[in-house]
C-alpha cells in the first residue's frame, strides 16, 4: 500500500468518520510520549529493510532474537526472584519452586546484606529477612543451598555493592560441594551505576565501585567462563518511573560505561563482552514493550560492533532477563494483577527474553505467599505450553506497527545516549542528576495522567468497586531477626578470629592497591568473616557515597 493510499483512506474514510463521532481520547500516546498512529501501513516503514534491519534470528543485529531457534529449541528460563525470613525458609521456597517446574534460581537478599551491614547492626533493625534472605557469613549460604547441587542449577543473585562478597561465598560453596568453578552457571547483578540512579543500595563512591565491578569481569573471564558477570539493569529505573525509551537508553549507556571500564583495565573486548547480560522491565503497553526489547537488541549489537569494534558475535548479543512490572500491581482488586502479569509476561516472550520472573498478585501487600507465587509460575507455564506463542520465532516481526515502533524507540533512545555522551558520560551525568531528574519528571507526569484519568488503572481510577483485601499474606515473624542475630553470634564465637583478622587485613592491603580483589574476598568468606566486617574494611579504604540528588 503506497503512502498515497493511506492518505486517501484518511481523507475519504477516516476523517469523515471522526468528524461525525470523535475518538474516545483526543490523542493516543506511548509511555515514551510518542504519538500512536490510528493505522500502520507499509508506508510507515518505508525505508526500513524488513529482512536486514532487524536481521535474522541468531544473526547480527539480532533484532528478531539472539538464538537461531529461539523457544523452539529451548524455552526461556523460568526464574522467580525469591528470598525471605531466613536461609532455611528461603531454601524451602527454592526447593518448592524447583519442584513446581521452575528452571532457575533467583536469590533476593535482604537490605542489610545488600548494603553491607550484619544482622546485628543497629542500622539493620527491622530490615533483617524482610525483602530477602539475610546472609551474614558463609554458614548462611550453606544453609541457603542445602540439597541444591550447584552444578545442576543456574543461580541469579541480585546483589550489587556487595556482589564480590556474595560471589566469593558462591565460589567457596562450590568448592565445598566439589563443583569446579568452570561448571558454575549464573549471574551476579553487579550493576552499581543504576543503584546511584534509582535503586539506592550503593555503599562506596563510583570509582572504587567500578573497580570492584571490573574485578569480577576479570576474575570470571579466567575462572568462571559460564558465569554472567553483570546484569545491566533497566528494571529499577523503569520502576522508579522512567519511560520505555529512557529505560533502554539509560541501561545501554550504563553498558557502555562498563565496557569502557573493562577496556581501561586492558581486557580484550571479546573476552568479557559475551558474559555481559541485561535485565529489563515488561510493562503494560504490550506492543511498545515488544518493540522496546527488539530495539534494545539492535542498538546494543551496533554499539558493540561499531563503537567498540567487537568481532565475536557473542559480544554483539544482548541477552536479557525480564521481570513483569511491580509498580502496575494494585492493592485494589488484587486478582486483576494475575491478568496484568500474564500480558506483561507475553510481551517479554514476544520480545525474545532469555529468562523471566512473573510477579505475584499479592505483591502490593507483601512478599509473595506460596499460593500467589505458584500462580505466577503457572502463568509462565501456560504461556509456554498452551498459548502457542513460543512455537515460532519473533511472531510479531513484520507487523507494520511493531517494526515502526522498534525504529522509533531506537532513534529516541539513541538521542538519549548521545545526550549522555555530550554530558561527559554516565558518571558525569549522574553527578549532575540528569538521569535521576529525567526519571522523576516521567514518574510525576505519569502520576498526574493517572489522576486526571488520562491513563486508566482498572479497579483504581475506573471500575473502582468495593473489593476484599487479601488476607493470607506471607508474614515474616519478627523472631526471625533475633534468631539470625543469635546464629551470627554463634558463628563469631566458633570461628578462628586470628584467621578472620588476617584475611581482612589482606583484603585491606589488596583493596588499597591495584591487584584483583576477588581472591582476597574468597579468603575472607572462607575464614567466616561477616559481610559487615568485610564491607567495613572496604569503607575504611574506599570511603562511602552519599545520595546524589534529591528533589
Amino acid at each position: 500500500m503506497p503512502p498515497e493510499r493511506k492518505k486517501k483512506w484518511q481523507q475519504d474514510t477516516y476523517e469523515p468518520a471522526i468528524g461525525k463521532s470523535p475518538e474516545r481520547q483526543p490523542d493516543f500516546t506511548l509511555t515514551s510520549g510518542m504519538e500512536i498512529s490510528p493505522l500502520y501501513t507499509p508506508g510507515d516503514i518505508k525505508g526500513i529493510d524488513l529482512e536486514e534491519s532487524p536481521g535474522y534470528p541468531g544473526e547480527y543485529p539480532f533484532g528478531r532474537g539472539i538464538q537461531p531457534t529461539m523457544y523452539r529449541g529451548r524455552l526461556w528460563t523460568m526464574r522467580q526472584y525469591s528470598g525471605f525470613a531466613s536461609a532455611e525458609e528461603s531454601n524451602r521456597r527454592y526447593r518448592y519452586l524447583l519442584d513446581q517446574g521452575q528452571t532457575g534460581l533467583s536469590i533476593a537478599f535482604d537490605l542489610p546484606t545488600q548494603i553491607g551491614y550484619d544482622s546485628d547492626n543497629p542500622l539493620a533493625r527491622g530490615e533483617v529477612g524482610k525483602v530477602g534472605v539475610p546472609i551474614d557469613t558463609l554458614k548462611d549460604m550453606e544453609i541457603l543451598f542445602q540439597n541444591i547441587p550447584l552444578d545442576k542449577v543456574s543461580t541469579s543473585m541480585t546483589i550489587n555493592a556487595t556482589a564480590p562478597v556474595l560471589l566469593a561465598m558462591y565460589i567457596a560453596l562450590a568448592r565445598k560441594q566439589g563443583v569446579a568453578l568452570s561448571e558454575l552457571n549464573g549471574t551476579v547483578q553487579n550493576d552499581i551505576l543504576k543503584e546511584y540512579i534509582a535503586r539506592g543500595t550503593y555503599i562506596f563512591p563510583p570509582a572504587p565501585s567500578m573497580r570492584l565491578t571490573t574485578d569480577i569481569f576479570e576474575y570470571c573471564r579466567r575462572e568462571m567462563p559460564r558465569w554472567n558477570t553483570i546484569s545491566i539493569s533497566g528494571y529499577h529505573m523503569r520502576e522508579a518511573g522512567s519511560t520505555a525509551v529512557q529505560e533502554i537508553a539509560f541501561t545501554l549507556a550504563n553498558g557502555i560505561a562498563y565496557v569502557k571500564a573493562a577496556l581501561d583495565r586492558c581486557l580484550d573486548i571479546d573476552e568479557f563482552a559475551g558474559r555481559l547480560s541485561f535485565f529489563f522491565d515488561a510493562h503494560n503497553n504490550l506492543l511498545e514493550e515488544v518493540a522496546k526489547f527488539r530495539a534494545a537488541r539492535i542498538l546494543w549489537a551496533k554499539i558493540m560492533k561499531e563503537r567498540f569494534g567487537a568481532r565475536d558475535d557473542r559480544s554483539w548479543m544482548l541477552r536479557f532477563h525480564t521481570q513483569t512490572t511491580g509498580c502496575s500491581l494494585t492493592a485494589q482488586q488484587p486478582y486483576n494483577n494475575i491478568v496484568r502479569v500474564a500480558l506483561q509476561a507475553l510481551a517479554a516472550i514476544l520480545g525474545g527474553t532469555q529468562s523471566l520472573h512473573t510477579n505475584s498478585y499479592d505483591e502490593a501487600y507483601a512478599t509473595p505467599s506460596e499460593e500467589a507465587v505458584t500462580t505466577a509460575l503457572r502463568t509462565q507455564q501456560v504461556l509456554a505450553y498452551e498459548s502457542g506463542v513460543a512455537d515460532s520465532i519473533d511472531p510479531l516481526g513484520g507487523s507494520w506497527m511493531v517494526e515502526k515502533l522498534t525504529r522509533d524507540i531506537m532513534e529516541a533512545a539513541e538521542r538519549y545516549i548521545d545526550k549522555i555522551d555530550s554530558l561527559g558520560g554516565v558518571l558525569a551525568a549522574i553527578e549532575k542528576g540528569y538521569q535521576q531528574r529525567e526519571i522523576q519528571e516521567s514518574s510525576y507526569r505519569y502520576q498526574k495522567e493517572v489522576e486526571a484519568e488520562k491513563r486508566v488503572v482498572v479497579g483504581v481510577n475506573k471500575f473502582a468497586t468495593p473489593y476484599e483485601k487479601l488476607k493470607s499474606l506471607n508474614k515474616i515473624n519478627p523472631e526471625e531477626e533475633k534468631k539470625q542475630m543469635a546464629s551470627l553470634t554463634k558463628v563469631k564465637q566458633q570461628r578462628d578470629s586470628a584467621t578472620v583478622k588476617a584475611s581482612l587485613e589482606n583484603l585491606r592491603r589488596v583493596a588499597a592497591g591495584n591487584e584483583n580483589t576477588i581472591s582476597a574476598f574468597i579468603d575472607c568468606v572462607e575464614a567466616l568473616a561477616t559481610v559487615g566486617e568485610i564491607c567495613d574494611t572496604l569503607r575504611e579504604v574506599f570511603g562511602i557515597q552519599r545520595e546524589y540528588v534529591i528533589i
Binding site: L123, G126, G200
Partner: protein
C-alpha cells in the same frame, strides 16, 4: 488559622531505596502550596526526628516499602515523644499490610496511605490534620 505555609517533612527511614512514591508525594504537596523538605533515602529514626525539629515541621510523612515499618516508625514516634514533639502529625505510606495499619494507628500514626492513593487525598488529609491541631 494562621496563613503560614504548612511545613512537611517527607522521610525515608531504614535501608529502603524505593523513593518513587516519596518523591511524588513531596512534589504534590509542594504543588499544593506547602513547604516540603525531603530527607532522601537511608535515614535513621533519630536523623528524621532531628530534621523535623530543625525544620519545625507540622507533619512528617514516612515512606517505607521494605517491610521494616513497624520497628522504624515506632522508633520515630518514640523519638518525637522523647523531645516533646507529640504535636507533630505523623502520616505514612508504602507497602503496609492491613494488620500493621492498626498497629501503626495504635502508636499514634494518624493515617496510612497505600498504593494507588490519589495525591489529592493526601494533600487533603495533611490540610485537615494541621487545621485540627491549630
Amino acid at each position: 488559622m494562621s496563613k503560614k505555609k504548612i511545613r512537611v517533612l517527607i522521610a525515608k527511614p531504614g535501608l529502603d531505596g524505593h523513593d518513587r512514591g516519596a518523591k511524588v508525594v513531596a512534589r504534590a504537596l509542594r504543588d499544593a502550596g506547602m513547604e516540603v523538605i525531603y530527607t532522601g533515602i537511608r535515614q535513621t529514626p533519630e536523623m528524621i526526628v532531628q530534621s523535623a525539629l530543625q525544620e519545625d515541621v507540622d507533619v512528617i510523612g514516612l515512606s517505607c516499602l521494605s517491610g521494616a515499618h513497624l520497628e522504624l516508625f515506632d522508633d520515630v514516634m518514640q523519638g518525637l515523644r522523647d523531645r516533646n514533639m507529640d504535636s507533630v502529625n505523623v502520616i505514612a505510606g508504602g507497602i503496609i499490610p492491613e494488620d500493621d495499619i492498626l498497629e501503626l494507628q495504635k502508636i499514634g500514626v494518624k493515617a496510612v496511605f497505600g498504593p494507588g492513593t490519589p495525591t489529592a487525598e493526601i494533600v487533603d488529609a495533611v490540610e485537615k490534620l494541621v487545621k485540627g491541631t491549630d
